[in-house]
Amino acid sequence: MSELLAPALPALPTRARMRRTAPAVVSAVAMIIMIAVCASLQPDVLTVAGLSLVLSATVPLVIAAQAQMTLMSVGDIDLGIGNFVGLVTVVSATTLVSSPATGALILLALVAAYAVLGALIHLRRVPSLIATLGASFVWLGLGLFALPTPGGTTPEWLASFGTWQPAGFPAPLLPILAVAAVVYLLTSRSTLGVRMRGLGSNPVALERAGLRPLASRVIAYATAGALGVLSGLVLASQTGGGDVSSASSYSLMTVAAVILGGGSFHGGSAVPWGVAVGGVTLGLVSVVLSLLDVPTNMQSAVQGVIVLAVLAGRVVVGKVLR
């Protein structure tokens, strides 16, 4: 896993940088512990096939978490991302199979809808929490309208991506790392990223410098929409069908993943590599719990306790490094 962390680790670990990367490091430690627990229960986990199996469930969550991180970097929170991902699986299981061109257009329109949502939030000064919560019901309604009961099939190319098994490395690592790299380039290295983080950090400064906060917010929402579509496609490739409520837990799980990865509610910071670690950590929890034979009824509660424990670890490390 060291290659996952490498870009997050600074060249010169100053105290301030250590403090910022600490949450991701804590999450990474938790992740390694969980993989170790899995391996001790089921030695096959450490093979390429085993790791693929364990990690594959986390890929859509990690991508959705990157979408959440993009919005949190401008200081907003998206409570609709779960149903949005679900709606994308519905589209890919229905229209994308019957008429691919229309399906692709619908997916593009969904990205545009996110951009419009961002513009509305900015212009009407609605709290993003409320607006995205409202939008989540719209996504749910559209999904139920198109596909009332889970089902459908996925396009062949998507299904073959889902079952792709390269030799030598676990396939799910590829999308996780590729998406993190793209988001890193966009939010941390490019001038667009500076605009987005500047908006989350100090909108007044942005305005004084003559940059339009509206443009920054719309770009962030469009990015989040695109990542949400990607997450939905990956989820559909794994489940082999569409279900609008298949990802409804993502809305809050992604927020937890961002926090685990070192993001904050205040906006201004982008932590794509940390989010990748945080998302995988969060996704692994349910795998570990299944392997430990924790009753399904108890899993959610135990999952919550583990997340709280990791967050507590983050707080403690942050205090020590202050």
């Binding site: 942005l206 410098a209 003559g210």
Partner: protein
């Protein structure tokens, strides 16, 4: 159009070739400029000319319209009537941050306009992106800011990859000033209270750089509460009062008192409201309200302070020498060496962080401490509360009245509310933690009078101030150095000169002398000031690198002339 060319530009191509003569080119001209917000007329007709190659000092108390005028001159807001001409071209009616005419006018804000989560280089991109290449902008911005910071503040200790939130207050201010100065063609640089958080060395090198800038033909508009600083740096001083420029004089030959008088201050006459008026003669006879006896630890060394009933006790000296620790002990008398009789109220210095409840109204902010005393059986009594609030609002003439939102008030009026909150309670001992920083002269005079009046009623006040002149309103003053009381002054002994003398007595043995000139080390990096501020250090550096060192330095310099 390349930042690489920037730093040398003002010196390499001096535009003000005809400088020295009185007919310098005007860079920005404001004619009959008015601006109204709602019911308040912020600017009532300003005429101002900033000429190339000069430093224009702008003074005025809070609410005089300084910040509005700055926003208009920097092109952030359009004026209602009148015209603003930049470089000979009249600006279009709808100015905005994107107005092209104002590209050469740059402003360094007092509270900085940096994004705390971004790095220094990224912040430079935000404000100077027009002059940066599209590719490798990060490196170009980093190089430019590094070079400019090196010219302005040698030994600044900032690297371009640092995030702003990790920098000290002084370093942030340095980056803000460098940020404002980085543009391909600088015509006018507006500096709003630039030295408020800078150490004396940094302030001096900033003004050295300002002189080099003006020598290259750039105009500089300097705004500061520190009138002596303005007088020593500026070529011309403009006085703003009630939204108009009421005086525009050459700085040479102008004294501090002249400027204060122009600003409309009834210059706080020490003889009238000072300690002499209050019976300061027999402090020993008063009953003791609070006492510190040989307090040691957490920044204090064997500090003994006694506060009598009805006494105003000042804590003076350079900032960060243990005064706030004394207030802290009196506020929470946990240790055995601290004795406090009666109830206490505390007025914090940082009103934004620890004083104001921004969502509440003036009335609620004012009464929150006294509420419990007024209430009966745990139930509030609105009528009595309103009466109390009304009398305080009237007494301190707080603008906006009791129902105004707290954030609608100007800084000075907010401060009045915070002070009134403490005095409206039934507290016997009121602790003031440098509450009047950045407050205009009018408000200060009102509050000084309030303090004296309340003391005459038998209340005790412990007052820490970084402004030595304020100490003249105290009965007794303890001067602190490195966590020790180095002097106790009473009555007639209290004077600014005396306080400065004892504050510096140990450090250079030359009372009143400018300490910055005593040690011959020029490169004392003021960037380190942040680390040393709360640590009482025996060596003079710890003291000098504080903002107030800057004040005292200029004070000292003044007394030398």
């Amino acid at each position: 159009m390349h930042v690489h060319n920037l730093p040398a530009e003002p010196f390499a191509a001096p535009r003000g070739a005809d400088r020295g003569s009185s007919d310098r080119q005007p860079v920005v001209v404001a004619r009959h400029v008015t601006k109204t917000y709602g019911r308040t007329r912020a600017l009532t007709g300003v005429d101002l000319e900033v000429r190339a190659g000069e430093v224009l000092g702008l003074v005025g108390h809070n609410g005089a319209g300084k910040s509005t005028l700055m926003r208009v001159l920097a092109g952030l807001e359009a004026c209602d009537e009148g015209t603003v001409t930049v470089g000979g071209r009249e600006t279009s009616g709808e100015a905005g941050p994107r107005a092209a005419e104002f590209r050469g006018v740059r402003m360094a804000y007092q509270e900085t306009s940096l994004c705390p989560d971004l790095t220094v280089a990224e912040n430079i991109w935000v404000s100077s992106r027009h002059c940066l290449p599209r590719l490798r902008w990060r490196r170009a911005a980093g190089d430019a800011v590094r070079r400019r910071l090196g010219e302005m503040f040698p030994g600044h200790g900032v690297t371009s990859g640092d995030r702003i939130e990790d920098l000290s207050l002084a370093q942030r201010q340095m980056v803000e000033i460098a940020r404002a100065s980085l543009v391909d063609r600088l015509d006018l640089l507006i500096l709003d209270e630039p030295t408020e958080s800078l150490g004396p060395d940094a302030a001096r090198s900033l003004y050295d750089y300002v002189r080099r800038l003006t020598a290259g033909g750039v105009a500089v508009l300097l705004i500061s509460h520190r009138i002596r600083e303005i007088l020593s740096v500026a070529d011309r001083v403009a006085v703003l009062r009630d939204g108009a420029v009421i005086a525009d004089r050459p700085a040479a030959g102008l004294g501090e008192h002249d400027v204060l008088a122009l600003m409309g201050a009834q210059v706080a006459d020490r003889a009238g409201s000072g300690p002499a008026a209050a019976a300061a003669g027999e402090p020993a006879d008063r009953p003791v309200m609070a006492e510190l006896r040989g307090a040691t630890g957490s920044g204090l060394h064997d500090v003994s302070v006694r506060v009598g009933a009805g006494e105003v006790v000042g804590l003076a000296g350079l900032a960060g020498q243990g005064q706030q620790e004394v207030l802290e002990r009196l506020w929470r008398p946990a240790r055995r060496d601290t004795k406090v009789h009666g109830s206490r109220a505390y007025v914090p210095g940082d009103r934004q962080r620890s004083g104001v409840l921004p969502l509440w109204t003036v009335a609620e902010n004012l009464i929150v401490t006294a509420m419990r005393g007024i209430a009966r059986h745990g139930l509030r009594r609105p009528a009595e509360e309103r009466a109390a609030v009304g009398s305080w609002v009237e007494r301190l003439s707080i603008r906006g009245g009791p129902d105004a939102a707290m954030t609608e008030l100007s800084g000075g009026n907010q401060q009045k509310v915070i002070v009134a909150r403490a005095f409206a309670s039934a507290a016997d001992l009121v602790l003031l933690d440098d509450p009047f920083r950045g407050v205009d002269v009018h408000t200060k005079t009102d509050l000084y009078r309030l303090i004296r009046h309340e003391a005459a009623q038998g209340r005790s006040v412990v007052w820490y101030s970084s402004e030595n002149a304020e100490m003249a309103h105290c009965d007794r003053v303890y001067v602190f150095r490195a966590g020790r009381v180095v002097a106790e002054l009473a009555g007639e002994e209290i004077s600014e000169e005396q306080i400065i003398a004892v504050s510096f007595a140990e450090s250079d043995g030359e009372p009143g002398g400018p300490p910055a000139e005593s040690g011959g080390e020029p490169g004392g990096p003021s960037a380190e000031s942040h680390d040393t501020r709360n640590r009482p250090s025996a060596e003079p550096d710890g003291a000098r690198n504080r903002p107030d060192g800057a004040r005292n330095r200029s004070d000292g310099a003044q007394s030398h002339e």
